[in-house]
């Protein structure tokens, strides 16, 4: 059993095959895409592999400790930041192969023309607790 993060990027991932921004899809295509994503999460819950999924607003603020007795320093957003995370899904699966399979399915979400987006998703394993048996 291992947990993996499926990371979706607004920016920073290589271009997808069906690379048309969502605002140029038809409303029906957007509806179909959202339905696919909801259905995917529901299926994972049914299979006992779902942990969490969240979407993030694209606009964020950079925050830094401002020094003793001073308020935090804020900056940004920086337009030049190359990597921008859009959201994630966390899965709990029996193997790396199963994690790859699920990431592939998520990447097949339909986009413009109802065709799969082939979006690049980043698959990252969670660090775990140490095993009890050590030698």
């Amino acid at each position: 059993m291992a947990k993996y993060l499926l990371l979706k990027h607004y920016r920073g991932a290589p271009a997808s095959v069906n690379d048309v921004p969502m605002e140029r899809w038809t409303p029906e295509e957007i509806t179909a895409h959202v339905a696919y994503m909801n259905d995917f999460a529901a299926r994972l819950e049914q299979s006992g592999e779902y942990v969490d999924s969240r979407a993030l607003a694209p606009e964020g603020t950079w925050v830094q400790y401002g020094g003793e007795g001073k308020p935090p320093v804020t900056d940004g957003p920086f337009a030049e930041t190359k990597d921008l995370i859009a959201g994630w899904m966390i899965i709990d699966v029996d193997s790396y192969e199963r994690a790859l399979e699920l990431a592939g399915e998520l990447s097949a979400a339909p986009g413009a023309g109802g065709r799969p987006i082939h979006e690049w998703l980043e698959l990252r394993p969670f660090l775990t607790e140490p095993p009890t048996v050590t030698e």
């Binding site: 059993m1 947990k3 994972l44 819950e45 049914q46 299979s47 006992g48 592999e49 779902y50 942990v51 969490d52 709990d92 699966v93 029996d94 394993p125 660090l127 775990t128 607790e129 140490p130 095993p131 009890t132 048996v133 050590t134 030698e135």
Partner: protein, 380 residues
Amino acid sequence: MNEALLRRLTPDVLGVLVRRGAPFAAAEDAVQDALAQAVRTWPDGAPDDPKGWLITVAWRRFVDASRADAARVRREERAAGEPPPGPASGADDTLWLYFLCAHPSLTPSSAVALTLRAVAGLSTRQIAGAYLVPEATMAQRISRAKRTVSGVRLDRPGDVATVLRVLYLVFNEGYSGDVDLSAEAIRLTRQLAAAVDHPEASGLLALMLLHHARRPARTTPDGRLVPLAEQDRTRWDTGAIAEGVEILQTALSRDRLGEYQAQAAVAALHADAPTADETDWPQIVEWYDELVRLTGNPIARLNRAIAVGEADGPHAGLAALAALDPALPRHTAASAYLHERAGDRATAARLYTEAAHQAATLPERTHLTHQAARLNATGP
């Protein structure tokens, strides 16, 4: 209210329901309902016969649920032809459940979840908490597992090895939550070892006891890992060690060696050394040779290389390590350790840094980073 008593009675009660003809999945639900009712009502006055009470309440739940669902149940019974055979007698109840819940048709995570619920008597919420997944996800995992085994016919004994693998997983990959999964694994393995005549069940029990004995010394209060050689051995649980060694000796005398007995023998040799310097490394190398012969497991080969480094010196250890796939987990960490022992501190510092990046757990990463920092701070 004795939750331990409830957990201990769970497989007996479930076995009785199944023997009376209740389908496994429905019986399991009914027993969980009865356990929950016991948790609510026993504090106001526990029954004189807890097991009898649980059987009565669980059976009533099962009958009620069946009536409410009678049409569906009739359809299912027609479709299934006849219900799967249950255990033949009370003595076989628990064993039958172990085999069913570890059935090879289940994935490891499903077998673990089902075993913890049906054999260990934990609630779905407790199991979900232990494995850090939402309760709804764990509920689905368990109900899918129950569907998977619902048609299984267990008319001959199952394979003990599959049950042992599931119990080993529970012991070795316990996370957090309010349930001590290692302690639960020990309890279940103890129960299994008493029910089957199988030296490997005893071997696994000994292995668990010997590793569990070190738990108080394995981490600092702030959660940092303490390597075996640096552990305060006065904090090891001598009672658990004595029990583990005795169980192992009895198992070994049967002359049917297996991987768990061999691993337990390694742990027993560590437990037997008053200080790390007095460890009998040559004998540990011999046990790893046995383990490699039995399993061919690459992790056993890696551990053997480290033991060779202790028995015959770091250069011998590095030579043994060089024969193994560098992509093995902890290969880099082992190499770093042996390089430091060989006096090559610069290489060791570089390798510790690399090993920290590869670590699969946070405490290991922190530990390896500390090792690199220690070497970097004192210079080559």
